[in-house]
Structure formats: structure tokens, C-alpha cells
């Protein structure tokens, strides 16, 4: 029962209030501002051979080892152009912190719950899985990223 209430609460939290925003390709995303641990410029990272390709590597975050997930690959988007360096957005998830590699960081936005809508049905499945909903802002759409699902990349035993 308790856990049910908890999930409802977190759903509520994620569907209203303040969002940290970022860009991946031409998509404009937001995550609950409370779930963001910190934002770092691109860090040198250690490559993990045999890991799924969405995992860019491991970074040393003051002694904590954090897995970095490339959002372009996670969303099945084309790779970043040449010189562009991604930014680390470190978010907390139930299983510890993960770093999302995004193109660019945006502002923190206050949004109005009334502008919320569930993601359109015809969205590409690769993205639809990860998007909780959409806020219709004045000039663009803000996609609410489901960080738990984004971080949920489990590797089967690799032979």
C-alpha cells in the first residue's frame, strides 16, 4: 500500500512544479529538479568493453563511480556532430546516481500542471518508453523524461 502511495506521489512530483531542462538533438527534455544531483562539463571517462552501446563509460564523481548513458543512443538518435561535447547531467535514481550525456543544458522552468498531456500514441517506441508526458509550453514542447526507465538498462549475461 505504502509503495503504491509513494509511486503516486512521485508521479505527481514529476508532473508538476520545477524542471531542469536540457536538449538532446532537437528534443527539449525536462526532469524533476529535485532528482538532479549536479551538472558537470564533459569528463574523461573509462570505456567499458562489452557493455551495451548506450553506456558511454564510467566517470569518477568524487570517488563515486557513476555510469554515463549517452542520451542520443538511448533515444536512438543520430550521433552528435563532430566537435560538440556532451554535458553530464547526474540524476539520482532508485539504484544510485547515473549520468545522462546530453547536448546542452537549459533553464530551470516552472510549469503549469494544466499544460500537461500524456505522450502522443504515435511516438517512436524508443522514445515513448522513456517519456512520461508532455508540457505544452508557449513556444515549444517540454518532454518529461522518466529517469528510472532511462537508467534501466540491464545486461543479460554476456557470453
Amino acid at each position: 500500500m505504502a509503495s503504491d502511495i509513494e509511486t503516486r506521489k512521485s508521479e505527481f512530483m514529476q508532473t508538476s512544479g520545477q524542471f531542469s531542462t536540457f536538449f538532446v538533438a532537437d528534443l527539449f527534455f525536462g526532469v524533476d529538479v529535485h532528482s538532479v544531483q549536479e551538472v558537470l562539463r564533459f569528463q574523461q571517462m573509462s570505456h567499458v568493453p562489452k557493455a551495451p552501446e548506450v553506456i558511454e563509460g564510467l566517470i569518477n564523481l568524487r570517488g563515486q563511480i557513476v555510469t554515463a548513458i549517452d542520451m542520443r543512443r538511448r533515444l536512438k538518435l543520430p550521433p552528435r556532430a563532430g566537435e560538440q561535447m556532451p554535458t553530464n547531467m547526474v540524476v539520482r535514481t532508485d539504484d544510485g546516481a547515473v549520468s545522462l550525456l546530453v547536448d546542452e543544458i537549459g533553464d530551470v522552468l516552472d510549469v503549469d500542471a494544466a499544460a500537461y498531456e500524456r505522450p502522443p500514441e504515435n511516438l517512436d517506441p524508443a522514445a515513448r518508453d522513456l517519456i512520461r508526458g508532455v508540457y505544452k509550453l508557449k513556444d515549444r514542447l517540454l518532454l518529461v523524461l522518466d529517469t528510472e526507465r532511462t537508467a534501466d538498462i540491464t545486461v543479460g549475461s554476456v557470453a
Binding site: D4, E11, S46, I65, V66, A151, T154
Partner: protein, 863 residues
């Protein structure tokens, strides 16, 4: 939430109380007149009873109440303390533990109400005192165990000793506080981090000529080392924490085996990291049980052999060279080398000619082979062929070593060498494909460098497989960059080979460069990478970069150099035995009128003997309890010769060949195991008889080959039909995050004959559905990441899954949850731990395919 905390506190406290009770009771048995000790036992039970009342744990309250009544009579001198009374009270302690475990797992007291125990306690308290003492004096055994401590190793904690106990009970409590393990772990992490930063500062310092910086960094260095040591110490626990339970174990063993055993413990204050303490607990208990059961002889045998009737079991722990040594020694019969050899041959583990070549030392080490047990009879205490191999692999898992020394007639000593801590380990830093990796030092045997001109000569190829001639024997070799799929560097001048040990096999790993050894701080990998078996974790190097720690076993398996591993024999068991010409090892046995039957040895998991009395009936079938599971038995005779009348005239003990099929086991009962043969087999003639493949010539005699697939299939089907009827073959997907609950649900379903697949979260569930459509999906409402509803939605979104019924599992079936589940479109909702209701619901859903209206029900929420 607060309630949860209080209950956790209650559990911690009760466990402490119970371990103290265990010790006190064993001592009390020796000193029944010790009033202060008795009073302490009484108080402890009283405390437990009081707290249970507070939480309304009625089962606990009742049994502790009955025990208290009994103890109050003892305390008041109305009744004399007898061994049988002690046993009864110890039983109460066990029952209490069982209930506590259930509370810890699911917050409820569990189904067993222990009515019978409570009844016996009540009866004992009502019996007139003189009758009780009379009846039990008949049963009374001489003092069975005697506890002897030496110096600080005394196994009775200070506060149990009567005089101190009554004087000032709380002196220790004031000087100590309880600290959560989580906090200590966090501190350890921070210290690891500080160590790395210190290393960087020191490096920085050497590059500069600055006196002030120099002095400061030296000081930092010193303080960091001290801090590291201090924090390490907070995680240390005396090994006595694990030993505390052993007097009780030994006492119980002695009683049930009719032996007299004295337990001596030395070095109980030797300290180990808590993670290690946790890991050696089970192996230690197992070794002690082994010594009691197989080592120490019954009193009459001992006196005949000129030894004192009372056997002696010694536990020693001491530090040596940065490691902790633990010795478990007995003065029993010792290990009979000849019997070990004979047994190894009988069990088909080695061929006779192989056995003859072994040294005495190697013969002793045979007992660590899986499937080995020298016990003449299978007792309920040990000797089921599990055991020493498991002990060994558990100890090796934490980087330890097991050694056994034995002299016939004088006793056996098992010696464990264990590292002090797992958090910081020595490792070898290597490079491959431009990346740095760390190999844990414990797996490292030697380093070999092959110079350019000889390299090609010395890494040779057998049918494309690289091998290296290492002092005359062939060592399989793998290239790390190939295993990890990295760019191979130009193999220019020299090749570096790291020789590694994984379990009991060795292999060489070719790396690009070998750097140096370092103390590394082991950090776990994120969930996303847990599934990669080739890594054991990660660490941070002096330059701040992350390096992966290689899992030697995983690398070996991934490279395919650990071919003859146990896993593979299991995999072979799943393959269909094929007719035709093959060179293979065969197990020969006899049953009924079939004088010579054979199955490939690779399919056999184990050979076992069970006493006829241990065979039980369940669901109209023969079963035995085996390795904590129920093993169904198939009398081969009944399968091959159903018409033959005298089915039950088999020998005692019963000979059983155990096969594994997936994760199910099946025991086939045969009359006699004959031999193991290795030959080229040609199946000459096919058979039309059910259960036989055909016949061929083995060892110049005609032999029938068993069709194992058919037998397993036929009998498992019957096994299910015996219990669950229509359930057999239905496919259930269980989606639930907690492995514990999953296990419960799974076993419930499997007992009914369903085929069950488990998944832990949404993604796995979707993948599971993609692999094979189940007949019913059982989904926990709290399934990560977004609840069972998300799974339901995912399923309803795909036409092929639309009609699969989904049963929701709630933590409780309050009306609220039930109606939530129904509006969401689940076909049914049941409480997680109400097994009967769940099974009924699954049976209903499995038999009636979902109706059309389900498509309508899925209503969106989240508004």
C-alpha cells in the same frame, strides 16, 4: 514507517537475546545449580514475551509465555533442570527464531503456530516435579558437551558470568553506541576516496619544491593512514560473533548422534571485516558439523581405540601475515585415504588408474570435488554429497584458501586462510587495448614474458586454440583484447601472459602490458553493468581515472578456456542423448530383469544412497528431501517393467541416480550401480520398449541404453498430473521485484506443475513476453519501475498480448487495492503471500482464456 523502525529494533534486539540464550542454556546444562544464570535466562525470555505482547505477535507471545512458566518453576526451585527440559527450551528458542525470520521477511508471524511445542511446554510445566525428574533421568545423558575457553577466548561473554551479571549490568552499555552498518560503509567509502586524494597530493608534492606544502602533505599522509586504519577497525568484528552459535550446534549434534564432544575455542577475539564474517558463517558451521558427524567416532569406538570416550573439537583463529587463519580440528578417525580413493572411483569422479597416481595430499583434496561424500550412511546431519565443494567455493569466493590435513586414527584439521578485508585488496594493474584493468592478486599465479623471437614458437595452436607450454603441461591461453572486443595492439616485441587461477582451473591471459601492483579500493558497478560477468567491480586509480576490475572466472568462461566447468555438464544434461557412434563415459547399472543398463555419465548429476526410511510420499509419489528441496523419485523398474508385480523389493539403502533437467532434479531408483566405462559406443539395435534408446556392446557385453529424455518427460508429467492436473505445461510469467517473494510464488506454482519464468522489472517482463507468450502473467502491483500497471498497459498495447490474463499481486488485499486493480483492468488481484488464493486464481485464469471485454477496461490514469 515508524512502526517498521520499531519492529526492526525489536528484531535486532531479539536476535541478540536469542544468541545469548543459546549460550547460557548450554552452560546451564553443565551447571544446573547456577541460580544467577537461570535468573538471567528467565529474564531474557520474559523480555521477549513482553515485547511480543506489545506488538501483538500472538504465536511468539504464547510460546514464550509457556517457556516462562516453566522457567519460573525452575527458578523457584520447584523443579530440577534436566537435559530434556533444556532441549525443550532450546526448541523454543529455535521456534522463536523461525517466527522472527518470518516477521523480518514479510511482517507476519507465518503459518506455523507451534501449537504442539506450546502444548509440550505446558505439559512439562504441569507434570509433578518428581515424575518429570524421574522420567528424564532415564533419558538423561552424561554431560554431552563441555565448553572450555582459554584466556580471552572464553566463549561466555563477560556479562553472562553470574557475579558480574547481578552486580552492574549496564557498564558496557554506557561505553558503546550502536551505529548502522550503512554509515560505516559510507565512512569506508569516504576514506577510500581520501586515500586516493592523498596519493594525488603526494604526487603533486614531489613535482614542487615547496617546504610548506611538503610538511603539510606529510602530515596529511600520516593522518590519512591513521584514519584509514581506524575506520577499518570499526568494521571489524571478532570471529566470536560467528562462533557463538557453535556450542549449541555441537551440543545438538552430540545429542542426536549419541556422541560425547568437547568443544574448545581459542582466539575468539580475532577480528575480521564484517563482510568476511558474514561470508564464512555457513562454511564454518558446515565444517564443524562435518567434524562432529564424520570425524569424531561414537564413544564405544573411541574407547576401543584407546582414546578417551569424549571427543575433542578445536577451533583456533589467529592472525598470520596479513591474513586470518582459522583451524577446525578434531581428534577423530581421520580421513581414510584408501576409502577416499575407492569412493572417487565409485562415484565416477576419477578412473582407477588416475587415482593410483595421486599423492597423499592430493587424495585428501579429493573430498572437495563436487558430489563427493565418504559417509557410510547418509544421515540427516550431513553427508548428502553437498558440502565440502560448496565450502571450498564459498571460501575461495572471498579470496580464501582451504587446506585439509589428516592422519588416520588421530584426527583431521581443516585450515582456512582468509583475507582481513574485501574493501581494499591488492591488485595487478595491466593494460589491454589502451585501457587499464585490475586483476585481483588472489587469482594471480605467475607472470610470463615471451620475447619476440620465441613468442610465436611458444604460444602454439591446437586446432586453432592457443596454448602455452608451461613447464611441460599445456595451458589454455586467451587474449584479453579478444575477450573484451578491444583493438589489438601491434604484437611487436614481446607477449605478456598472466597465469590465472579460476576455481580449480588455470589459464593464461595475454595482455598488452603489465604495470604494477597496487592496493585498490573496490567499488561496485552500477545496476546497468551488473550483468557483465567479466567484471568484478571498478576502482579509481591514482590519476583519478576509473579502472575496471576483471572477474577472472567470468573472463575464463567468456573466453571458453574453462571448458570442463560444472556448468557445462549441466548444459549437457539438457541436450538430448544421441544415438550413433560416440566415445563417451557411461554409467552402468542394473535394475529388475535388465542386467546391464547405461546412461552417459555427463548427464548424471550425482549418485546417492538414501535409507529406505527417508523416502516420503507426496502427491502419491515417492520423494526424498535432498539439498533443501524435494526430489521426486522414479523407480526405473516401474517404468521399464510396469507389468512386473514385486515393485517394492528393492534394497536398503536405495540407490539413486540424480539427473538435472533445467533446474529441476529427478532421482531414478535403480537396483545397483555397476561401473563406469569409457568406450566407443555403437548402438546396434533400436528398441521399441518405452524408456530405452536401444542396445549396444559395452565392455564386450550387450547393454541397454536408457532414453533419459523419455523417462524424465514421462515421469515429470506424471508428477505434475499427480498434483495439479490441468496445470501441467501451462506457462506462467511472474513479475516481481523481490527475489524472496518471487521464490515463494515460483515454488507455489511449480508445485502445481506450472512452468514458471521469473522477471524482476518491466523491461525484463517485456523481454520475457517477447521470448514466449505465457498463459498467465502474475504481476506485482509494485513492480519496478512504475508499478504493475505499466506492465499491464504495455501488454494491452500489443495485439498479441492483449488476451493474456494478468493477475495482480498486492501486499494486502484491502478493498481499496482490489478495486484499484480492477479499474486498471487486471483480471484479478490477490495478496502476495496468500498462496492458496493465488493458485486458485492462476488456475482459473489459465484455464479460461481472457474474454473480449478486457480490451475495454484499460483506462488511463495519471491525471
Amino acid at each position: 514507517m515508524q512502526d517498521q523502525d520499531v519492529i526492526r529494533e525489536f528484531l535486532v534486539e531479539s536476535h541478540e537475546n536469542l544468541s545469548r540464550l543459546d549460550q547460557e542454556l548450554v552452560v546451564l546444562e553443565k551447571q544446573p545449580e547456577d541460580a544467577a544464570l537461570l535468573a538471567s535466562v528467565f529474564r531474557t525470555i520474559h523480555t521477549i514475551k513482553g515485547t511480543c505482547g506489545f506488538f501483538a505477535f500472538s504465536t511468539l507471545e504464547r510460546i514464550s509465555h509457556e517457556a516462562e512458566t516453566l522457567l519460573s518453576q525452575l527458578r523457584d526451585g520447584k523443579r530440577k533442570l534436566t537435559p530434556s527440559l533444556i532441549s525443550l527450551i532450546l526448541e523454543t528458542v529455535d521456534a522463536t527464531r523461525t517466527v522472527l525470520a518470518s516477521i523480518e521477511a514479510n511482517g507476519e508471524e507465518g503459518p506455523d503456530r507451534f501449537e504442539e511445542l506450546a502444548g509440550r511446554l505446558r505439559q512439562a510445566a504441569q507434570l509433578p516435579a518428581d515424575v518429570e525428574s524421574q522420567t528424564s533421568s532415564d533419558l538423561a545423558l552424561a554431560p554431552l558437551t563441555k565448553i572450555q575457553g582459554e584466556g580471552s577466548s572464553s566463549n561466555i561473554p563477560e556479562d553472562v558470568k553470574p557475579e558480574k551479571n547481578s552486580a552492574k549490568p549496564s557498564a558496557a552499555a554506557d561505553a558503546n553506541i550502536r551505529v548502522g552498518v550503512g554509515l560505516l560503509d559510507k565512512l569506508m567509502d569516504l576514506v577510500g576516496e581520501l586515500v586516493l586524494t592523498r596519493n594525488q597530493i603526494l604526487q603533486f608534492n614531489t613535482e614542487r619544491e615547496d617546504a610548506a606544502l611538503n610538511a603539510t602533505s606529510q602530515r596529511l599522509n600520516l593522518i590519512t593512514s591513521e584514519l584509514q586504519e581506524g575506520v577499518m577497525k570499526t568494521r571489524m568484528q571478532p570471529i566470536g560473533v560467528v562462533w557463538n552459535s557453535l556450542p549449541r550446534v555441537v551440543r545438538d549434534m552430540a545429542v542426536s548422534l549419541g556422541k560425547q564432544i568437547e568443544l574448545e575455542m581459542d582466539g575468539a577475539d580475532t577480528e575480521l571485516d564484517r563482510t568476511i564474517i558474514e561470508a564464512i558463517k555457513d562454511p564454518l558451521v558446515h565444517l564443524v558439523r562435518n567434524s562432529c558427524d564424520h570425524g569424531i567416532e561414537p564413544p564405544e569406538v573411541r574407547t576401543q581405540g584407546g582414546k578417551p570416550a569424549q571427543g575433542r573439537l578445536t577451533l583456533r583463529a589467529y592472525h598470520e601475515g596479513g591474513q586470518v587463519n582459522i583451524e577446525i580440528g578434531d581428534d577423530g578417525a581421520g580421513i581414510d585415504g584408501a576409502r577416499v580413493k575407492q569412493k572417487a572411483v565409485e562415484k565416477g569422479l576419477l578412473r582407477p588408474e588416475q587415482v593410483e597416481k595421486l599423492s597423499d595430499r592430493e587424495v585428501l583434496n579429493l573430498i572437495f570435488l563436487p558430489g563427493f561424500s565418504t559417509a557410510q550412511t547418509v544421515t540427516n546431519v550431513s553427508g548428502r554429497g553437498v558440502g565440502m565443494d560448496v565450502v571450498k567455493s564459498n571460501i575461495e569466493k572471498i579470496g580464501g584458501i582451504v587446506d585439509v590435513f589428516s592422519r588416520p586414527g588421530e584426527g583431521t584439521t581443516v585450515k582456512l586462510k582468509i583475507p582481513l578485508t574485501l574493501a581494499i585488496i591488492p591488485g595487478l594493474v595491466i593494460t589491454s587495448g589502451g585501457e587499464q584493468f585490475v586483476i585481483p592478486q588472489v587469482s594471480l599465479l605467475e607472470l610470463v614474458r615471451l620475447e619476440a623471437d620465441s613468442a610465436e614458437k611458444r604460444i602454439e595452436h591446437v586446432h586453432g586454440t592457443p596454448v602455452y607450454r608451461r613447464r611441460g603441461s599445456l595451458l589454455p591461453v586467451a587474449y584479453l583484447n579478444e575477450v573484451l572486443g578491444l583493438q589489438s595492439s601491434d604484437r611487436a616485441d614481446a607477449v605478456s601472459v598472466v597465469v590465472l587461477q579460476a576455481e580449480d582451473r588455470q589459464f593464461g591471459l595475454v595482455v598488452d602490458g603489465i604495470n604494477d601492483t597496487q592496493e585498490i579500493v573496490v567499488k561496485p558497478l552500477g545496476k546497468q553493468l551488473k550483468g557483465l560477468t567479466v567484471y568484478a567491480g571498478a576502482t579509481i586509480m591514482g590519476d583519478g581515472r576509473v579502472a575496471l576490475i576483471l572477474d577472472v572466472l567470468g573472463i575464463g568462461e567468456s573466453a571458453g578456456v574453462l571448458t570442463e566447468s560444472r556448468e557445462q555438464s549441466r548444459a549437457a544434461a539438457e541436450q538430448k542423448p544421441q544415438a550413433g557412434i560416440e566415445q563417451q563415459r557411461l554409467l552402468l547399472f542394473r535394475t529388475g530383469s535388465f542386467g546391464r543398463l547405461a546412461v552417459p555419465l555427463s548427464l548424471v548429476a550425482r549418485l546417492e544412497e538414501f535409507p529406505r526410511s527417508s523416502i516420503e510420499h507426496a502427491g502419491g509419489r515417492h520423494v526424498v528431501q535432498y539439498r533443501n528441496r524435494i526430489l521426486p523419485l522414479v523407480p526405473l523398474r516401474a517404468v521399464l517393467e510396469p507389468e512386473s508385480p514385486d515393485q517394492d523389493q528393492a534394497s536398503d539403502p536405495v540407490q539413486v541416480v540424480v539427473f538435472n533437467d533445467g533446474d529441476r532434479s529427478l532421482g531414478v531408483v535403480v537396483d545397483q550401480i555397476l561401473d563406469v566405462a569409457e568406450e566407443t559406443v555403437t548402438i546396434r539395435q533400436k528398441s521399441s520398449r518405452k524408456g530405452l534408446l536401444g542396445s549396444g556392446v559395452v565392455g564386450k557385453r550387450v547393454t541397454d541404453f536408457l532414453d533419459l529424455n523419455q523417462i524424465i518427460h514421462a515421469s515429470t508429467e506424471a508428477w505434475f498430473q499427480g498434483v495439479g492436473g490441468a496445470a501441467s505445461g501451462k506457462n506462467i510469467l511472474v513479475a516481481e521485484a523481490s527475489a524472496f517473494s518471487r521464490g515463494l510464488i515460483r515454488s507455489g506454482l511449480e508445485m502445481e506443475g506450472y512452468r514458471v519464468r521469473e522477471v524482476a522489472n518491466l523491461d525484463e517482463a517485456v523481454r520475457g513476453l517477447e521470448q514466449q507468450s505465457p498463459d498467465v502473467v502474475v504481476a506485482a502491483l509494485d513492480l519496478p519501475p512504475n508499478g504493475g500497471v505499466a506492465l499491464l498497459e504495455a501488454m494491452r498495447g500489443r495485439p498479441e498480448w492483449k488476451r493474456i490474463p494478468v493477475l495482480a499481486l498486492a501486499d494486502s488485499t484491502g478493498q481499496a487495492q482490489l478495486s484499484v486493480a480492477q479499474t486498471k483492468g487486471f483480471q484479478d488481484c490477490q495478496a502476495k503471500f496468500k498462496r492458496e488464493a493465488m493458485l486458485e486464481s492462476v488456475a482459473r485464469l489459465a484455464s479460461a482464456p481472457a474474454s473480449d471485454e478486457m480490451e475495454l477496461v484499460c483506462v488511463g490514469e495519471e491525471k
